[in-house]
Amino acid sequence: MSGAIRVLKRHWRVFVRTWRHNLMYNVAEPLLYLAAMGFGLGALVQQIDGMTYLQFLAPGMVALSAMYSATFECTYGTFLRLYYQKTLQAILAGPVTVQDIVLGELLYGTFKSVLFGTVILVVVALLGQIPSPIALLIPLFLFLPGALFSILAVAYTGAIKNIEYLNYYITLVIMPFFLFGGLYFPVSTLPGWVQQLNWLNPLFHSVEVCRALSAGHPSSRLWFHVFVLLLMLLALLPLPLRFMRKRLIS
């Protein structure tokens, strides 16, 4: 683990230099969605589950920002470090293991996920769209989906050889997550089989938890979502290590 922390220090230094640009694209996009959907659809929709449409939408944007941050860092970011910059190979010549390097990537993705999710949370709270103080638990919760999205992304990135394949991941994995994850409308409006599939959608679980905490309706049901996310995390954790080892060690 100490090796992973030393690798993470490299990422931290880069973060210190680049956080302003990061803030721009990680935060602007969810806020644009919020504005467009909030004003556009919000004019048509009166209330959902006792919330205004903006209150319904806001926690979804927090979960979305958290997903994007982890995903982009651990797909495009990791791919660049692995194939173009060879930064990971350079680090591996130092006194660390592949496991340290993979953990470093995952920790960095998780950190960015929690950070930018929290930034959106602060913004929508300042806009008055977060009714409950229980929402303060959201940043703590975000570690879980943050780590999971990082694991998924590093595993996929380690499994592919061409940067073009990252587009498949974004279009065929991340887009469905966010279109069907119940960010813009309640999942109960979807056909039954899509609702069933949503149990495999980490963003769906993440949105459910964020929304309940934001509305101040924590229930034992939330533990179920947390449990599913944790299960996915533990099941998928070996994958990034296995794929990245193949890429880094010949």
Binding site: S2, G3, R6, V7, K9, R10, R13, V14, R17, T18, Q85, K86, T87, Q89, A90, I91, L92, A93, G94, P95, V96, T97, L248, I249, S250
Partner: protein
Amino acid sequence: MKNVIVASNLQKHYGDFHALKGVSFAIREGECFGLLGHNGAGKSTTMKMIYGLSTVEEGSLTIFDQHISLTPPEIKHRLGVVPQEDNLDPDLPVLENLEVYAGLFGVSRREARESSLAMLSFMGLESKEQSSVDTLSGGQKRRLIIARALLNQPQLLILDEPTTGLDPQGRHLVWQKLRALKSEGVTLILTTHYMEEAAQLCDRLIIMHEGLVLTEGTPVELVCAHVLSHVIEIRSPLDTIPDDINEKVRQFGGETLQVMDGLFLYANDGKALWQKIGEWGLPQHSCFLRRSTLEDVFLKLTGRGTEP
């Protein structure tokens, strides 16, 4: 003398490609050991096995008396690595490239800065401290990579083509630094395409070809063992050279070697051979007499030169 590395019968496959077919050598403490060979001869594969980017598939590798299959962090702690490719971190400026790398060895931030500044000045890059890595010239990048490899004061420095792409000044600068390190007792392992570099720096070397070690020795030993002491390079097209030249050289007690589209004539008495070639119908103005070097050994052994 103590051996730092002992490799015995190392083998490696990449799919169908048999990259190493049984490579054995031993590297002694404090010497500069060279690995010579074409691209694809197995030099880099051997180097990667030593510095932990490749596993030992078959055979045995011992580094600092420890038997390894994949070099662990404790051993990498004592190594310095100059890889063949430029893998400086473009996300960080020059000084931070070094500080981050020093940090991997678990030193404090202050120590990391001190050793980084010391190495920048050792490699003559003080003025580049805050520069972006992308703005450095090829030679400066190479020097920065060497500086990075020295941060942990390695006992064993692994240099995979350290001077490829450098101008003559840059190359001489790197050679001087490497000699300075050797005089401090650092063991060096070097791969290179430049025979002059190998002759200048290496105490002993092996010539590799298609995954095998062809020969081993000091540069002088190898020249004595494999080629006659002088060579005349004929610099006119092959079809203008009289057909019976090979026969005549052999009768004279020499040897010939065809190198691509040129012909090399070897003899121990170079001056006498030089006198003869005029008689044999070779114009001296298109010929060049010199002492044989490691390059001649390399050309002869690795088959880019062919004996008729």
